[in-house]
Amino acid sequence: MGNKSSLLLREEEIAQIQEETGFTPNQIERLYSRFTALDKNDCGTLSREDFLRIPELAINPLSERIVHSFFAESHDDRVNFLQFMRVLSHFRPIRKNRENRLNSRDEKLRFAFSMYDLDNDGKISRDELLAILHMMVGVNISEEQLTSIAERTIIEADTNNDQMISFEEFCRALERTDVEQKMSIRFLN
């Protein structure tokens, strides 16, 4: 089964990916076929354009950030399958009594956090938050209002008064949120 898509994927590659990401071979094959479907140029890597070609994603307000998050590790604006899988593995549901490396609560939060934190300084500044709010809330609200929302949000989470949200503060703010569930999707087998 799945032989067609696995033509390009050798056993040891699957094993390696499985080792690293925790996906089952079936899931890996399925995702690989998705990967190749997205890869219009058949070059084994995806570009930003490849991602944005997905129609639903294109209208996602955060599409840019989401796509960007896939390119965190790549240096040449291309994503290979392993990197692709690494990102996706953050969203694997957490299984009890199994190893959860990339999909632990901490990792999930860190992933979300890094999407806010554009400049990678480990803190969400007001402007970074504002940028996200802009994308999500849209145009119907005045800049001022958005700004005050952002500020209110930062104050709420900000425990050391530096007007930024650090990762620790971020985690604390979401302490009571069921992140494990909110940031998980079921990958088909």
């Binding site: 995702l31 998705r34 479907a37 997205l38 991602f51 997905i54 639903e56 994603l57 209208i59 996602n60 307000p61 955060l62 599409s63 989401i66 896939f70 996706l88 969203f91 549901p93 979300a112 999407m115 806010y116 938050l129 709010l133 999500m136 809330v137 849209g138 145009v139 119907n140 609200i141 005045s142 001022e144 209002q145 700004t147 005050s148 929302i149 500020e151 209110r152 949000t153 104050i155 709420e156 989470a157 900000d158 425990t159 008064n161 949200i165 971020f170 703010a173 979401l174 009571r176 949120t177 069921d178 992140v179 569930q181 909110k182 940031m183 998980s184 999707i185 079921r186 990958f187 088909l188």
Partner: protein, 1038 residues
């Protein structure tokens, strides 16, 4: 006559078993209605025999009626019929002669009266339970209600007056069930519901079918062994299985609301109980029809038809509900002119949806559930905040009272003579119900877990199976069975009651301790924080994106799609103010901001004065929030930070040499003027209007304008009262704001006055910049250099001139102001203010004495020369706004009169508020013109009224500036100036102005001191006088 007819009709609907009995009588009765009425009045001789049932009028739709002693029980229709004809002819003429002064005519009101009595006593019983905390802790309310019902039933039975089933299927389904379901649907957490929809449907549809079949088949199998002692046809058993297997939403709600389990668990069980209605109804009707057709003639197509009818019933009900839901949204879009009828649409349209679905034999429960779910999204955006509250309370009230009645009636209905107790059947039914419920839950949760992210664990499964309570729906359904067709109906009824009792009592009572023992996650109720709201939304988008990328179309994808569709096509049509894509974030923000504001006011009422007046409210909140969060960590009181910040501010301000008290005043006044007071509007309209709630700014809840609401809340009288009380109690609270040290009545009037002004202010077309409430201006840091503040303030004033209203508001006489002269002297003495924790004045007894109202009044009385009120000033000005410059000073008397008017009346902005327009020009004039000491005054006053200002400067000085004026301890200088001189200066002089604050302050202080206080006091006094008679005066004015 009509009432009689009515009663007969109602009773016919109510008591099915007696309908046939009554039919002939009723018709006759109607035909001869008028004679009957007259007879009943004069024929008390008719007796009711206790044994025969009490026919006709005796039963309201809601229940049996015991004949009232001394009451002509004309309800014995048969007897009446016999007697009527003769008696009427003879008796009538007599009757018409005499004029009856007082008479009892119970029948006219009988039905509604009885309904009312039932509700009344049921509610009383509910109160009673909550008076006994031990009882209500141990037993769920439903148990207690049933118990009371049984007692009443026993009572009624023992008096032999009735044996009726007050809980008839029709009353139940048409009147009592809809409110409960609507409440459930309307307040259903949508997100949660749809996230778990798959699981819920699995349980509701497949699970219910499974239970029906297994219970029915098992009972039939047992029946084959002959242990029941009667024949048990398979179809009858399946019919019984259908009605007994449905989990009852009412019972589930009653129990689960008390045990507060985890929301997932709750939504799964409760959702199942709601949605299985369609299945139950279909299965029930299917088997009923099969039973009537007889097993022999059944064809397999009938089963297919059954399945098809399930689809029709379920989907049809859902569609009807959704359509009505959209319709409600659309209608409420246009209700902004008639707010008072908003709630009615929600109720009526939902009810119509229910009836509409029932009309077509579809699932009414599904219809009303989905109607609630659908309409909520849109209605909430359209209706006013108050309507929202109204709806919420009305819905809760209706649902809880019908729940109460249902359980009570269940109890009453239990007690009758028609029971057919079959021990084996009852026992086995209970056993099968429990066992198959457990088996079903385990099987289907295993299936569901395959698809769920959040796996249902063993404990949850247990609670789910244990929470499968049966209730009134089953009971109503079993009553619907026609005993002619199903011979076993009496046994079914008894068994159903037994099962209900078992589940409600045994399971209902034990589930609470079990939940505790098993350590089931319990829900925590709280509002989401800003961070949670934003980040969770962020995650939603993220997950939708990831799903798209991974090529899987799951929950997130669907939700995302719907949201987009909703935002693009539906919301714009159904919402009046379409707020953009993320109303929830805004909503949360406004809610939180409001909460902050309230908390801030409540907790820090005393420290509020310490906040620099130039800060915007948001800055204050920022500060507050900060301190709050910090406080959580280090257990420091939340206001420490505020205090410390004040401290700093003070140090800086000391350079200007104002007393701290002055600063405080200034700040609070600025604060009040700019941020807090404005929103608060009280309805002072004394005329009665049925069609309008007199509150003009009913903002919608989701509306971003909620900041208006916030402000209103902040300014809410309640808090004022609190504060004023507080002021009374701890007169020695040194931090207390002077204003709050006013006590009782004086304070009250002050606020009245403020309110008035505020209200008037509403009418005024406002400039955007003016509203200074919790506006969403972002101000960066709480602590800023005072100089900067002042400058900013000034600039603010210049470009966005404060509305007169604001000024007027600030003009409210405060104790401090009144006191100014003395205060000044004092401040003088302590000019070199030491920087200490407590300002020097704080512990000064004299100061406190001054701030007491008595002192104020005394002071006022001392110099009653110029009893002008601020209002008077404004008024006059407004009326002669153009001439304002010409008119120097209003006569005292005039001023007074005006003030009185202003106080009591809800006069529109006509007078005061025409001025703001002038404001800027005046201002500019002022700024350029004024110099020296008087200059400052001018500034403050100028916006409001150039003329009056000069004469009674202090009172008029408002807003930020007032504080400044007072700040100056240079008052003495001004004191020397004669009033006239000052006014002249202001009006005539155009002094090249030094905008520097120091100068300004001095000047202000000068003017303000001598006169203002007195004027104020007078004003207040007059307010006092008038306020009591505000009604009349308002009438006069308006």
């Amino acid at each position: 006559m009509t009432s009689l007819k009515h009663g007969v009709n109602l009773s016919r609907r109510a008591c099915r078993p007696y309908i046939k009995f009554l039919a002939a009588a009723a018709f006759l009765a109607v035909a001869v209605a008028s004679p009957i009425e007259s007879t009943t009045k004069q024929s008390p001789s008719i007796t009711v025999d206790g044994i025969s049932t009490y026919p006709g009028l005796g039963f309201g739709p809601m229940g049996p009626v015991a004949p009232m002693p001394g009451e002509p029980p004309g309800t014995q229709l048969r007897q009446q019929q016999e007697t009527t004809t003769e008696t009427t002819t003879t008796a009538k003429p007599k009757k018409e002669r005499t004029f009856v002064i007082a008479a009892v005519e119970f029948h006219r009101v009988e039905t509604p009266f009885l309904i009312g009595v039932w509700i009344f006593f049921a509610s009383l019983a509910k109160i009673g339970f909550h008076m006994a905390p031990k009882l209500s802790k141990m037993f769920p309310e439903s148990c207690l209600l049933i118990f009371v019902g049984v007692l009443i039933g026993a009572l009624l039975l023992s008096t032999h007056s009735v044996h009726v089933q007050p809980l008839t299927p029709d009353t139940f389904f048409l009147y009592m069930l809809p409110p409960i379901i609507l409440d459930a649907g309307y307040f259903m957490p949508n997100r949660l519901f749809f996230d778990h929809l798959g699981t819920i449907l699995l349980f509701a549809v497949v699970g219910t079918v499974f239970n029906t079949l297994t219970i029915g088949a098992s009972l039939w199998a047992c029946g084959q062994t002959g242990m029941f002692g009667c024949t048990t046809p398979l179809l009858d058993m399946l019919l019984f299985g259908a009605l007994i297997s449905a989990v009852d939403p009412v019972a589930v709600l009653a129990v689960f609301e008390e045990i507060h389990v985890d929301e997932v668990l709750y939504i799964v069980v409760f959702g199942e109980s709601l949605l299985n209605d369609a299945v139950t109804v279909v299965l029930y009707h299917m088997f009923e029809a099969y039973t009537e057709m007889g097993a022999s003639r059944l064809m397999y197509t009938d089963f297919l038809a059954g399945f098809a009818s399930f689809l029709v019933v379920a989907l049809g009900g859902t569609c009807i509900g959704v359509i009505w839901g959209f319709g409600t949204g659309l209608v409420t879009r246009f209700t902004n002119e008639v707010r008072v009828i908003e709630p009615i649409f929600i109720f009526v349209m939902a009810y119509l949806a229910y009836l509409n679905a029932e009309m077509f034999h579809m699932s009414g429960i599904l219809a009303i559930t989905f109607c609630g779910i659908t309409m909520k999204n849109y209605v909430e955006g359209n209706i006013s905040h108050k309507s929202h509250t109204t709806i919420k309370y009305t819905m809760k009230m209706l649902s809880s009272s019908s729940e109460t009645i249902i359980f009570m009636f269940l109890g009453v209905a239990t007690v009758n003579n028609n029971h057919d107790w079959n021990t084996w059947f009852v026992l086995l039914t209970i056993v099968f119900c429990s066992v198959f419920r457990i088996i079903g839950v385990y099987i289907f949760s295993a299936v569901a877990n395959k698809f769920r992210l959040h796996k249902l664990n063993t404990v949850e499964k247990f609670v789910m199976s244990y929470g499968g309570l049966r209730g009134a729906v089953a009971f109503a359904l079993v009553l619907l069975i026609d005993p002619e067709v199903v011979k076993l109906q009496p046994m079914f009824v008894t068994t159903t009651i037994a099962v209900i009792y078992f589940t409600v009592f045994i399971q209902g009572i034990t589930i609470k301790p079990l939940v505790k023992i098993l350590n089931v996650k319990t829900a925590e109720k709280r509002k989401p924080t800003m961070n949670e709201r934003i980040h969770e939304r962020f995650m939603d988008h993220l997950m939708a994106g990831i799903e798209d990328i991974s090529g899987k179309h799951g929950n997130h994808h669907m939700r995302d799609k719907f949201k987009r569709f909703d935002n693009k096509f539906i919301r714009p049509f159904l919402l009046r103010n379409y707020q953009g894509a993320e109303p929830k974030i805004l909503e949360t923000y406004s809610k939180l901001a409001m909460r902050d504001a309230i908390e801030y006011m409540q907790r820090n009422a005393s420290t509020i004065g310490n906040i620099s007046g130039a800060e915007s409210m948001s800055a204050i909140f920022k500060n507050y929030t900060n301190s709050n969060f910090n406080g959580r960590k280090c257990f420091s009181p939340s206001f420490t930070q505020l205090d410390s910040s004040t401290w700093n501010i003070d140090m800086q301000e000391l350079e200007y040499n104002p007393s701290k008290k002055d600063l405080t005043d200034a700040r609070i006044h600025h604060l009040l003027a700019e941020e807090l007071c404005k929103p608060y509007r009280r309805h002072r309209r004394l005329s009665y209007s049925r069609h309008a709630v007199n509150d003009r700014d009913l903002g919608t809840q989701v509306n971003y304008k909620t900041h208006m609401n916030i402000r209103r809340l902040v300014g809410d009288r309640k808090h004022h009262h609190k504060r004023s009380k507080r002021g009374k109690q701890d007169g020695k609270n040194h931090v207390t704001f002077p204003e709050f040290q006013q006590n009782g009545s004086a304070k009250q009037f002050t606020h009245d006055y403020i309110d008035e002004v505020l209200q008037e202010d509403e009418e005024q077309p406002r400039r955007e910049n003016d509203d200074g409430g919790i506006t969403f201006t972002a101000k960066s840091l709480p602590n800023e250099d005072i100089l900067e503040e002042d400058e900013r303030r000034m600039s603010d004033d210049n470009d966005t001139y404060m509305t007169v209203a604001e000024q007027a508001r600030v003009a409210t006489p405060t104790a401090t102001e009144t006191m100014l002269p003395w205060k000044r002297e004092e401040a003088e003495g302590t000019t070199a203010l030491k920087q200490s924790e407590f300002p020097s004045w704080a512990s000064n007894k004299e100061y406190l004495a001054y701030s007491s109202p008595s002192a104020t009044f005394l002071g006022g009385i001392e110099k009653p020369k110029h009893p002008k009120s601020i209002i008077g000033l404004f008024r006059r000005e407004s009326s002669s706004s153009t001439q304002a410059a010409d008119l120097p000073i209003a006569s005292d008397s005039e001023g007074k009169a005006d003030s009185i008017k202003g106080d009591s009346s809800s006069m529109k902005g006509e007078s005061l508020y025409s001025q703001p327009k002038q404001g800027p020009s005046l201002l500019s004039k002022r700024s350029t013109s004024l110099g020296g000491p008087s200059v400052l005054l001018m500034e403050d006053v100028a916006h409001s009224d150039p003329l009056g200002a000069s004469s009674r400067p202090a009172s008029i000085m408002q807003g930020p500036h007032r504080g400044q004026c007072r700040r100056g301890s240079m008052l003495e200088l001004t004191g020397s100036l004669s009033r006239d001189a000052i006014t002249e200066e202001k009006c005539s002089k155009s002094l090249p102005e030094s905008e520097r604050m120091g100068v300004r302050r001095l000047a202000l202080g000068q003017q303000s001191l001598p006169r203002e206080p007195f004027n104020r006091q007078l004003t207040m006094a007059s307010n006092l006088l008038t306020s009591s008679s505000s009604d009349e005066s308002s009438d006069e004015n308006t």
